[in-house]
């Protein structure tokens, strides 16, 4: 089951500068595991110590937030799109330091 994972600009540096990745896996969690094997550290950026998606990050399967599906257990099918959406602050010059 190959799923398309869309990586936001803010995280592309940790996946070798790629914007779209094709990853195999039956659930969103499994796909993140695969991703982490290839690019160690990805999971730590997305999940907290309890293995939950960090609160400033949303993971979507197609157009639905996985929080409203089965979270990391959400099954993924061939052709599905997983989008990672971190909170962005910007608009101008000042932001978080």
């Amino acid at each position: 089951m190959a799923v398309e994972v869309r990586v936001p600009a803010i995280l592309q540096s940790v996946v070798g500068g790629q914007k779209v990745l094709r990853v195999e896996g039956r659930t969103v969690g499994e796909i993140l595991d695969r991703l982490d094997q290839e690019f160690p550290g990805v999971k730590k950026l997305l999940l907290d110590e309890d293995g939950q998606v960090r609160r400033h990050i949303n993971i979507y399967l197609n157009d639905e937030d996985i929080r409203f599906l089965q979270r990391l257990e959400t099954p993924a099918r061939d052709g599905d799109i997983i989008s990672i959406l971190p909170a962005l602050a910007g608009g101008g010059i000042h932001a978080l330091r």
């Binding site: 639905e64 962005l88 602050a89 101008g92 010059i93 978080l96």
Partner: protein
């Protein structure tokens, strides 16, 4: 003699006409046409007429783009080929929609204004009533920076009567790559003053209220309460959460956006339908997200997104179409890809949930672990 005339049905009324936008009826005058229309689509009658059979005050009727108020009212004669447009000015205080000013409070247009706004007014969806509504409306723009600059320009050009602008910063040379409301000779001047002066030259109908201050927990409610809609062009998390919470408490529609390099996210939060905390319950830890000065920002993206925000604000004021409420618009300008994902209200949201735990403004610097720096 009875003539076949076309009746254009405003979007909110189409649920009574089986989604038909245009209906043909035979009639001698407007009153007869509306009567025929109501006979054919029974649900419409109560929408168009009050108990006494008078046309409801918030229903605007046009014949060939002229308001019947300015013609012979319901007795306006119609002829073969004429088009009558029936457009409700407000949906009856739909949840979250800004309160439409009562007709008697709406300004009368001067001949110059009729020309200035003619491209708006010729559209039955806006018309004279819509334009007067814009002139009677007020919008607060947080930040006269990358997003606020283009948004203010379009809101001003469109004739939004009062635009509040909150920003404590001064114009810097490095702003001019994207903050198109400011000019080279404004460098060093407060952004709110520079924005006000530019707006004056674009449209003297518009009053700009400058707030040359940081938005804080101490002043936010006081500033925001006087406006119909809030447009968020802030660039930092403390202000983003502050504006969100204040808008939830004051039940103000919030048109929100953020930009990072070539990407952007845009949405609309309507009272009772979710908020920024439903989307992102907490900010990233300090240092996790680089700022625009570190990462850069593609100037024209802020123009695109600010214009989208202005579009959503004007749609809310005019109650036109479907807002981005309930959807998050994701823009990738390198791929020129636009798509939306669903947003839902979180019943456990600490601010807008069923049992809110935050019921007044808090210390947002502490909440985000950083000081509130700027709104631009």
């Amino acid at each position: 003699m009875k003539m076949p005339v076309r009746v254009y049905i405003g979007t909110p009324l189409r649920r009574f006409t089986g989604n038909l936008a245009r209906v043909e009826v035979e009639a001698r005058d407007v009153a007869e046409a509306l009567d025929r229309l109501s006979a054919r689509f029974p649900g419409l009658r109560a929408e168009l007429f009050d108990e006494a059979g008078q046309l409801r005050r918030y229903v605007n009727v046009y014949v060939n783009n002229q308001e019947i108020e300015d013609l012979a009212g319901p007795n306006t004669q119609v002829r073969d080929g004429d088009e009558i447009a029936v457009v409700p000015a407000l949906a009856g205080g739909a949840d979250g929609a800004p309160a439409a000013p009562a007709r008697e409070k709406l300004v009368r247009l001067t001949p110059e204004q009729v020309i200035r706004y003619s491209r708006h007014m010729i559209m039955p969806e806006i018309g004279g009533t819509g334009q007067r509504k814009l002139l009677s409306s007020s919008v607060l723009v947080i930040g006269a920076g990358g997003l606020g600059a283009p948004a203010i320009l379009y809101l001003a050009a469109a004739g939004v009567g009062r635009i509040g602008v909150v920003d404590f910063d001064v114009v810097d040379l490095s702003n001019l790559q994207r903050q198109v409301i400011h000019t080279t000779d404004a460098i060093g001047r407060p952004k709110v003053e520079s924005a006000r002066d530019t707006v004056r030259r674009i449209n003297p109908d518009v009053e700009v209220v400058p707030y040359n201050t940081a938005l804080t927990s101490a002043n936010a409610l006081d500033i925001i309460k006087d406006y119909d809609v809030v447009l968020n062009g802030s660039d930092n998390f403390p202000t983003r959460y502050l504006v969100n919470d204040a808008c939830v408490f004051l039940r103000k529609p919030l048109v929100d956006a953020s930009v990072f390099k070539f990407d952007a996210q845009v949405t609309v939060f309507l009272p009772g339908q979710g908020c920024y905390r439903c989307l992102y319950p907490a900010p990233p830890p300090p240092g996790a997200v680089p700022n625009c000065a570190e990462a850069g920002v593609f100037g024209v993206v802020t123009g695109l997104v600010g214009a989208i925000q202005a579009t959503e604000v004007i749609k809310l004021i005019l109650e036109l179409g479907e807002s981005l409420a309930g959807r998050l618009l994701l823009i990738d300008t390198l791929a020129m890809d636009f798509r939306t994902v669903k947003l839902r209200r979180n019943p456990n949201c600490p601010v807008c949930g069923d049992n809110p735990t935050i019921t007044q403004l808090i210390d947002y610097e502490a909440f985000c672990g950083v000081p509130v720096l700027a709104q631009s």
